[in-house]
Symmetry: C2
Subunit: 479 residues, 2 copies
């Protein structure tokens, strides 16, 4: 493949796939690198030298990665032992304790934690039931941060709408009712708007509660939770997700001219902030340990399922890519730092705290890499950095092509690495095939069986290849 | 396509697809037709004449079917209005009342019901929870006919096995525990054995309760219910289905050497038999009304979801294939009879009662056709009858090829038509693409959104083509 092809993300990278879970491509910020950063362009080792210098190592790395199930087994152990790892929960802190002990046992250097104050929302008991035209229980999940209903639940008629526009047209019909947004999934970036803004728009129309069709596809009566927002200038109303099946059913019932009445009961409560921790562990560089390649995922998850795809797999992929390099005697010149951020899901406070607490050393960060798009077959990497750097990462990715991770797309934006981007650090997201991701995302079904052992091995192989090259190159990745 | 190809089910028919939900191919019974039945082979109209005589009608039928969503809309109306239709439930009887009224309004002849005494098992409140090594709620469904646990639930250790053979080897370890059969889905015919026989085999090993991995695939924490059996010579123990995710998780925990303790609570109760009804409605033949083509599906379902694929779609497909012929002025010479059997799921008593109550007229039945394999893209028909008849149905199916229903496979065995086969009536199953069927089968997710409007139209088109030809041919289908 020619470099110009790879630069534009042709080949294995699916151009339609969202770059990051937050769906933001920070292309504009790339401009700050184009004029040159504090790192001068190093001489004597060009992108074209990467293949000759690292081709053999890449082969060794990938062979070792493809012959080990350790990352998957560790993911299963964490998921099965601790369950979902929601900010403020005992599960999360126990999983963090386990990660610290296991990283020490693995021989990582300077394994430590960083305290982070995190939001502490508790779901509590909750249910939804259709009372008219006939009784029907409805699976549901309250959305993270929602207020509770009254203790006896909230009973009211339902107005089903297919868009924000339709709600504005029918605002006079929404007053005193529940509004149900029944908008089928197109892309996460587009459809998540009903989850984030639904309660605000329903309250603006005078609704007593807001319901959404879950943001996902291929449902088997599967509700999806996730984050949401309120507007302090408007009444706060309960906000919950029904399944696509029930949203469609209520829509059909409304279209038949029948009156719909439901009861929604949610005991959700927002407690005072809790203390959680980022986990940080190094593989100390052999020549320039003060220079750091940061890589990780978020160890917290929503409070359902096991947080296996989101984002236990990302954590284990990064962790075991580093461990694999150590195990096969390929400790690079610069330090590889694993960060397992806390509270990505409902606050991103771990990412903010990490950047704040390490701002002074950020000048020495070569790159920050995040894996938080699920653990499926790898496709490559998204990158935001200088034009010179693009040439290096493109050649590095080319050596990961044998395991499928050869594509480079411009524009990274992972939630946990964005704060480092604002400190001038180039950033990179691991890209995978997300065809099935939004079946499982934020559901009871995000369990470790959804992660293929083969895919996990390939992800470790691709990421370890990239990590080794960027942390070991004779020159720093140019800023 | 040559007839010899079609005869062997080549072309669109997937040879790997099960022929009937019960998985029984009654090929042996085909032999009884080969020596000739009470109907002599009619002269003067050969299979090769079918295309010339019915080609134009087939085109009209298919054009009309492909331009109407009525069957799908009726399915949605029934599913949304009445919910699941389990034997012994008010829902089922209300749906039967609605079907009778709607068939009368549609202009069917002699719409009537036939009383059937049906089993009356009630699920009641039920749950499963893992108590050790940590607390975890587990979605579950009790299996139809299971006894209850004690009111406080049943608490015990769990032994996970991967096969009946493994249980026999480890029988001494099963005593006093729950046995969990964690056997992944291969085909329904093969895997359903753990549901049907699991409680017997677990009781034989001295277990206090029996759990299975749900019989289905592509789970999103989706339990599947269904029928089961006890052996009167062994203790009866509670029998329930967990999700594939939880079955795998418990298996992994056991493999890590950890002790598993769960609580199972089931309030299931078997009440005295209840009265249900088969629904019967005719489109009276214009020349030989005493000769009858029977076609239908079962109106009952399990007590979860909406019974849309199993088997509301089959009922509506048959119903609206007949109605379509009437609407476009193609009432055939012989009578078309719609039968919506009751209690297929947990007793097949509707089928037995229908055959018993109509045994005297069975000599006049041309064929009995059942649609109970789901409503997906049609592939053709399975048939059990005489060799002469095979030639006719093969040529009739060929005219349904434009809508995908052109294949003929030998060996039909639908549960509701088998009793008619024993009375000498040729039988036929509607065949569809069942790739996705066992995602939804017997789950909360068997809802009308899983039935594609396009697939439904194509099913109606193919079936109406077959019905018209077999009910209108100048000769009776040879026995």
């Amino acid at each position: 493949m020619k470099m110009s092809d790879r630069l534009h993300g042709q080949g294995r990278v699916n151009p339609a796939a969202p770059v990051s879970k937050a769906g933001t491509i920070i292309l504009l910020l790339a401009a700050m690198f184009a004029v040159g950063g504090p790192h001068a362009m190093a001489q004597g080792f060009s992108p074209d030298d990467i293949r000759a210098k690292y081709g053999e190592a890449a082969g060794r790395i990938q062979q070792a990665a493809l012959s080990s199930d350790l990352a998957w087994e560790r993911l299963a152990e964490m998921c099965d032992t601790f369950g979902p790892r929601f900010s403020g929960s005992e599960n999360l802190e126990k999983a963090i304790d386990w990660a610290v002990e296991t990283l020490k046992a693995d021989g990582f250097d300077h394994v430590r934690t960083q305290d982070v104050q995190v939001p502490n929302w508790k779901r509590g008991h909750e249910f939804a039931e259709q009372l008219e035209p006939r009784y029907q229980k409805m699976p549901m999940l309250g959305l993270g941060g929602s207020i509770a209903t009254p203790p006896e639940g909230l009973v009211g008629e339902v107005l089903v709408v297919g868009s924000f526009e339709e709600l504005r047209e029918k605002a006079s019909m929404a007053s005193g009712k529940f509004v149900l947004f029944n908008i089928p999934f197109t892309s996460y970036r587009e459809t998540v708007a009903i989850r984030v803004h639904g309660a605000v728009e329903a309250a603006r129309a005078g609704a007593i509660g807001s319901l959404i069709r879950s943001v996902g596809h291929d449902s088997l009566q599967t509700p999806h939770t996730g984050g949401m927002s309120y507007d302090d200038a408007l009444p706060k109303i309960p906000h919950a997700a029904l399944t696509p099946e029930d949203a469609d059913r209520l829509h059909r019932i409304q279209e038949r001219g029948q009156r719909i009445v439901i009861r929604l009961k949610m005991d959700a409560v927002t407690m005072p902030d809790a203390t959680s921790r980022n986990v940080i562990a190094d593989l100390r560089g052999t020549e320039s340990p003060e220079k750091v390649v940061v890589v990780g995922g978020h160890i917290d998850s929503w409070d359902v399922g096991q947080g296996a795809q989101d984002d236990g797999g990302g954590c284990m992929m990064a962790w075991h890519a580093i461990r694999l390099l150590k195990d096969i005697g390929l400790t690079p010149k610069r330090t590889l730092r694993l960060v397992l951020w806390t509270n990505e899901e409902n606050g991103a406070r771990g990412a903010a705290a990490y950047a704040r607490g390490h701002a002074e050393e950020a000048e020495n960060y070569i790159i920050a890499i995040e894996s938080d798009s699920g653990t499926f077959a790898p496709e490559g990497f998204a990158f935001t950095g200088s034009e010179k750097a693009i040439e290096y990462v493109t050649e590095a990715a080319a050596l990961a092509e044998p395991v499928g991770a050869g594509g480079i797309r411009l524009g990274a934006g992972g939630v946990d690495i964005r704060p480092l981007l604002t400190l001038g650090v180039p950033i990179m997201d691991v890209l995978v095939d997300r065809t099935d991701y939004f079946k499982y995302h934020h559901t009871h079904a995000d369990t470790v069986d959804k992660v293929s052992k083969e895919d996990m091995k390939h992800c470790v192989a691709g990421l370890a290849t990239m990590l080794y090259i960027l942390a070991d190159m004779p020159v720093d990745l140019p800023r």
